[in-house]
């Protein structure tokens, strides 16, 4: 009898739980909360000085040395310029920010300014959910459209229906430029009797020579999975000869990845691994370990991003050289690259005008000067950059950036292509390096992933009609 009573009580608990569950409504927003979708259509350059007492909460991921220093400096100067404004800064590492931003933005009291990563899983998703303010009217007022190159502004654009990346409304502006280049160790090259390469043929010709001289030709560690995407991007750019075809594909307008350039790049990658131009077992070596060993003199070349410059320059000094991937003879340089995480204004911000003024302050000519002084590559290098010694790695980095922009040679990161492209491509490239996936297989799998996402987008468009 007693046992029976307990059973009954247990059942009523389950029923209660089920009721509570059913009461929990469907999570998420339908985007209709997008406050005044055009950022209240500002008509004149806002004056933050007249905004009264304002606290601007800013979430950024500029935690590394120079990047952190320049934000600190600029924040202080902004507060000095507008004493009524207090900038409350929350700095988190890239990964931490990426993981917490979604929750912060969907809350009732999000920060005013955030750094939201480009691509489908971040900026496009936020824009679609109506959590970011379009900046087009501010772009007009502050002349951002002429300040930045169009190809770079496009990286921060999302279509009005919140479905496509790289076109449509502007949702953020970036401070710094970045691209994948070739670091080289002058001492190691000298020992092997090899000149720093001027053309792509020079570079590929140097690899067997270095190997013969007992040097590791290209330092490389791919345990963290993403570095191969950068190396592959460089090879693919070389094989394609220009940035245009791959860039169009990343933005969903191109012919896709089933191309000769993809196959050739995969072939070269596998070939370098097989011939021992990469260290043995690169799939099992960490990215940071590889960079550290390169700094210690193990390896003639290291193919990675401009963000490594500050860390390599310290131990290597004048032995360090840097350049965009050298183009084939008579061609323009092409590489993977773009710009740092864009700074965006949230749609629930109470002070969008002050935030816009802050964004402008972070990216104007004065900011470029501060960034250059702190060793950061600004999107628009100013006077200070031109004064750098062109023979130092830093000077080479600035010169390379100018050249790449002039030649329109930047291909966006391949992982922007679809929301899951990073995962599939990084896993597949590990297969190419170990010889488990042949070039045809890679081209086929990349194309499949691309086509699947495009079909999905088209289906959604049909639904919308």
């Amino acid at each position: 009898m007693k046992a029976h009573r307990h059973h009954k009580r247990g059942r009523s608990c389950i029923v209660l739980g089920a009721l509570l569950l059913a009461a929990a409504c469907v999570p998420g927003t339908d985007g209709s909360g997008a406050a005044g979708s055009q950022g209240a259509a500002a008509t004149a350059v806002p004056d933050p000085g007249k905004a009264g007492k304002v606290t601007l909460t800013v979430w950024d991921q500029q935690t590394r040395g120079g990047a952190n220093a320049q934000v600190e400096r600029l924040n202080k100067e902004f507060e000095k310029k507008y004493p009524n404004v207090t900038v409350k800064r929350v700095a988190r590492s890239f990964n931490d920010l990426k993981k917490t931003l979604k929750l912060a933005l969907s809350g009732d009291n999000p920060p005013d300014v955030v750094q939201a990563n480009q691509g489908y899983s971040d900026m496009v998703a936020f824009a679609r959910a109506g959590m970011l303010t379009p900046l087009d009217s501010y772009a007009g007022l502050y002349e951002w459209n002429t300040r930045f190159p169009q190809t770079l502004l496009n990286l921060n654009r999302v279509s009005a229906d919140g479905k496509r990346f790289g076109t449509g409304r502007l949702y953020g502006i970036s401070q710094e430029g970045e691209y994948i280049g070739v670091y080289y160790n002058k001492k190691v090259l000298r020992k092997a009797g090899v000149e720093p390469p001027k053309t792509w043929q020079d570079l590929t010709g140097a690899l067997p020579k270095l190997k013969k001289a007992g040097q590791l030709p290209v330092q490389f560690g791919n345990l963290d999975k993403y570095p191969a995407i950068h190396t592959f991007g460089v090879l693919q750019g070389q094989a394609a000869g220009s940035a245009e075809p791959v860039r169009e594909t990343v933005f969903g307008r191109g012919k896709g990845f089933d191309t000769d350039a993809t196959r050739e790049a995969a072939r070269t990658l596998a070939d370098w691994a097989k011939k021992g131009y990469f260290p043995k077992g690169a799939n099992g070596k960490g990215y940071d370990d590889a960079a550290k060993q390169f700094a210690d003199g193990k390896g003639a070349f290291l193919i990675t991003g401009t963000w490594q410059l500050a860390d390599l320059r310290k131990p290597m000094g004048d032995d360090l050289g840097f350049m965009p991937p050298p183009p084939a003879a008579g061609q323009q340089p092409v590489t993977t690259g773009g710009e740092g995480l864009p700074w965006s204004i949230t749609s629930k911000s109470d002070h969008p005008e002050v935030a816009a003024a802050y964004l402008d302050f972070l990216t104007d000519a004065h900011a470029s000067k501060v960034m250059t002084e702190e060793g950061v590559l600004p999107v628009v290098p100013g006077e200070a950059a031109r004064e750098l010694d062109p023979d130092t790695a830093g000077g080479q980095m600035f010169a390379g950036w100018q050249k790449l922009n002039a030649a329109d040679g930047l291909v966006p990161y391949l992982d922007y292509t679809t929301p899951t492209f990073y995962d599939t491509l990084s896993a597949d490239l590990q297969g190419v390096l170990s010889g488990d996936l042949d070039p045809d297989g890679l081209a086929e799998r990349m194309q499949k992933e691309y086509a699947k996402f495009r079909a999905q987008q088209r289906a959604e468009n049909e639904d919308a009609k």
């Binding site: 927003t29 979604k102 933005l105 998703a125 999975k225 099992g284 370990d289 896993a427």
Partner: protein, 327 residues
């Protein structure tokens, strides 16, 4: 008479109330009966009051999120925009999509390294250690238990360095003249999973050994003596005395290591991020990746719920079979 009695405070009134409680079929009577008529020691309803605080915490921080996860697993949701109803879609994909099934297969392999091997090694060492006296036993016990004390992140970082292409393991192999065996342990499609698994074995063996040693100390000496008088050798002695004597400890060890194997996340995250390719992806890592990186909250929840069910089922099996508990 029967109504006003309950408010009375003097002993006489109480007696009267009791008397009236026996007579009239009122709600008050039943209420009073609950507290006065039971035999001493029988459970009383007031017991629920005592567990209420714990239940509240349990409910708010465990049951409620679990229910929410179950609810999310029935939806398609990117974490931001309005979710749409998915029904059993997410679960169906778990069964049909080889990319979603693979993590569970990897987890099954890890079970071998995390649970079966440590228990087997622990038993073997226990059998040996109970037969011989070893000087400095406390010291060895501490050393063997140390991996349990270390944070998994520390373990992961250290082993990542050991297993690197030019790490300690390969260096040792080369010094021993076995250069042919060296490989990029974490970067090899075939060897990455066993490599990560052996880290697990390293971590869990100490726990098993310490559990078994303390259990073995409680086995009466007489049993061993009796076995020896009956002419049992070390093997027979192990199977007839030590193993049955350690039944409860084996159940505890298996439960702990099973759970550790299945919810393995930190080690994978630190050492391989699921690579090379997807050779070491496991359910817990997939849940994290889908929920926080690729915005497939529904699919991640379905995977989490399934993982919970698998862990629950396996621990039930362990308690029933090994511990021999019927209820």
């Amino acid at each position: 008479m029967s109504t006003g009695a309950a408010t009375g405070t003097d002993p006489g009134a109480t007696v009267e109330a009791e008397a009236s409680a026996r007579r009239g079929p009122t709600a008050l009577r039943r209420f009073a009966a609950r507290y006065r008529r039971q035999a001493p020691g029988e459970p009383r309803a007031v017991g629920y009051l005592y567990i209420l605080p714990a239940m509240a915490v349990f409910g708010v921080f465990l049951l409620w999120p679990l229910g929410q996860t179950a609810w999310l697993s029935l939806l398609h949701w990117d974490g931001l925009t309005r979710a749409t109803w998915a029904g059993a879609d997410n679960y169906r994909h778990l069964l049909t999509d080889p990319e979603l099934r693979a993590p569970f297969a990897h987890a099954a392999v890890l079970l071998l390294f995390y649970a079966v091997l440590p228990v087997a090694i622990g038993l073997l060492l226990t059998a040996a250690l109970t037969r011989f006296r070893i000087r400095g036993m406390t010291f060895f016990r501490t050393v063997l238990f140390l991996p349990q004390v270390l944070a998994m992140v520390v373990v992961g970082v250290a082993w990542r360095a050991v297993l690197a292409p030019d790490g300690l393991l390969n260096d040792t192999l080369r010094t021993l003249g076995m250069g042919g065996l060296t490989r990029s342990w974490l970067g090899d499609h075939t060897w990455a999973l066993p490599a990560v698994g052996s880290i697990g074995t390293w971590v869990e063996t100490g726990l098993c050994l310490v559990l078994f040693l303390s259990g073995a100390q409680r086995i009466p000496r007489e049993l061993y003596e009796a076995a020896r008088i009956d002419g049992a050798g070390p093997v027979r002695e192990f199977f007839t005395v030590t193993l049955p004597g350690l039944r409860a400890e084996i159940a505890v060890a298996l439960t702990l290591t099973l759970v550790a194997a299945l919810r393995n996340f930190d080690l994978i995250y630190i050492t391989t991020s699921g690579g090379p390719g997807n050779a070491t992806s496991v359910p817990a890592y997939e849940v994290y990746r889908r929920a926080f990186e690729t915005g497939e909250v529904g699919s991640a929840s379905a995977m989490g719920i399934t993982l919970t069910a698998v862990i629950f089922a396996l621990t039930m099996v362990v308690t029933r079979l090994v511990e021999g508990r019927r209820r």
